[in-house]
């Protein structure tokens, strides 16, 4: 009842919320959103089914939580660099982007699982669009600084290529020669 206790409770709640999110992420990613039951999430996160609804309003809301959580984790490295000037910085950014994808395969698998699901499209745009746009802006700035007259299109092309490469890697795993492809990508666009 003391403030201290309340804080601890608050912290406990956050820990549990994180636990739920991570369990859900794993299951969504492994089996797909639709084929993951709230039950199984409850079991994996060791929270009762009913209690789940004290943390998230429903399955949709939980998904949103998962996506936000994932994005916050992924985006961190990007916040360091908001402007790119040299080829080296460019190359480093691309590489660190794919490092991030490698590190968070689970999350990106979920991403591509959902990207074309109409039901979650709105949610998707809400969560990811700002992130993607920020990315685009950085690249656009770089290409413009290099004299590219249509830097927007180039940035979008690069973004799409990154998307496609990521998708390929996520789908094929180590059968996809990621490093080689990334090298080539950098060469083409630097």
């Amino acid at each position: 009842m003391s403030p201290r206790t309340e804080k601890q409770i608050e912290k406990l709640k956050q820990i549990k919320e994180k636990l739920i999110i991570e369990s859900a992420l794993l299951l969504f990613s492994e089996k797909g959103y639709n084929n993951t039951s709230m039950q199984s999430i409850a079991v994996k996160s060791k929270v009762s089914k009913g209690n789940l609804y004290n943390y998230f309003e429903g399955k949709d809301d939980l998904l949103e939580g998962v996506l936000r959580y994932g994005l916050n984790h992924m985006a961190e490295p990007l916040h360091d660099q908001s402007i790119i000037k040299t080829e080296e910085e460019f190359s480093k950014m691309i590489r660190s982007n794919f490092e991030m994808i490698k590190t968070n395969e689970t999350f990106w698998k979920l991403y591509y699982n959902l990207v074309a699901q109409p039901k979650v499209c709105a949610l998707f745009n809400k969560v990811f669009l700002p992130f993607l746009e920020q990315y685009m802006t950085i690249f656009e700035g770089y290409f413009k600084s290099k004299g590219d007259e249509n830097s927007g299109a180039t940035a979008l092309l690069l973004g799409s290529a990154i998307d496609g490469i990521s998708l390929g890697y996520i789908m094929m795993g180590d059968n996809y020669p990621l490093d080689e492809i990334v090298n080539r990508l950098i060469e083409k666009f630097k």
Copy 2:
């Protein structure tokens, strides 16, 4: 009893099968595979629920039918060209590929809807992998003929870029400046 009648019946069956497939494609694409009920497919294709199962063994089989049907429609233009030699042919092939995607948005939306769904992964590979590999081979040959020492990687990079562009276009619709991006893509790779 007469051959004529039998033929007609056979034809009618094929027409109905096509109807079912097209209804399913539309619904799968609009609402996602998981969120489309057999019931709704039955209604849309004006076939009774039970009769659906005279045409397809189950929902999975119907999906396979839809994918094969889609692919057969898509792949046609590709059969014309199996070897690319000049820049012009290259450019034409890329463009015709995106024409195809524009023409069959519905189908490709389904494609990206399914691509990362673990449950249908096996089916997916069965149906699409041969198609994709054929594509890759053509590009690889082109790059090799141009003296590219690592033509395989280049082809894969190109393939991934195409994938990413398609995905972007499918997701954003006319907000995606497809033609411009394609032009740039061709310039980069030709």
Copy 3:
């Protein structure tokens, strides 16, 4: 259209009916009445599903046909002997009864499959009761002739024992030492 042709047609019909009945008997016996579909019967008897209904009014009616057919086949040997006087005749009758069961396991399996199924109870009594009563009467006469004051009860006991033994044999197959048990049965009752 000639009488001859009509006869042939009639004969063909009977052949086909027999075919259907035998297919149904086999399937009912193997998989149980409820788990056998009209479809599978149609396939096995090489008759179209629709045509099945030209021979039998429905699944129930087909079952009745199967039971009557089976009984007519089984009962034949019994018609020889309608009165038993000597121990030898008694013994022979018992033995020939079990021979019959051995020869027609399929049918008797169906019998015991249905015997306690409420849905077909009425049908069952209609078809089998007369047969069983005839049997009972023969035994009753035998026991009476031997001075048994309550020959009815003895006959019923014997009948029940036969029933139980048959059931055991049908269930356990060759794990059931039928011959030995039958010998003992005869000793006890002769």
Copy 4:
């Protein structure tokens, strides 16, 4: 939270499980296993369809539960006597066996409903065989103690006769002169 409450909940659950089992037993017995829907069981036991599956994994599992429950009820009287020495004990055991069947007609009707159903054969053997064997062993011991050289066969014959009598009684109800037949059975075998 208190132990008391948990216990009560546990008890409530058991009561409800029993309710479900008894409803199912009644319906299975009345209409047959195949013709009883989970829905109707839910209605009869005043449990929602969905909740049924919190108690039993499926219809098969429910059947197993019913059979085990029935057997546990039936078998109780038998546990008293595991060795039979005198004629009196023998006679008492036979009689008490048929008392049990009289008392639990419903259950035994289900027994004979299922005994020859191929689909549930495995389950059946799993649940009933141990019970039957125990029975057989007791009789075998008795016959052996009386000097019967082939006590095994005699026990099996007796068992089969009991089976047949029970079946007759279950099928014909009070039209079957059970007591008289049982008396005669005892006379023959004691």
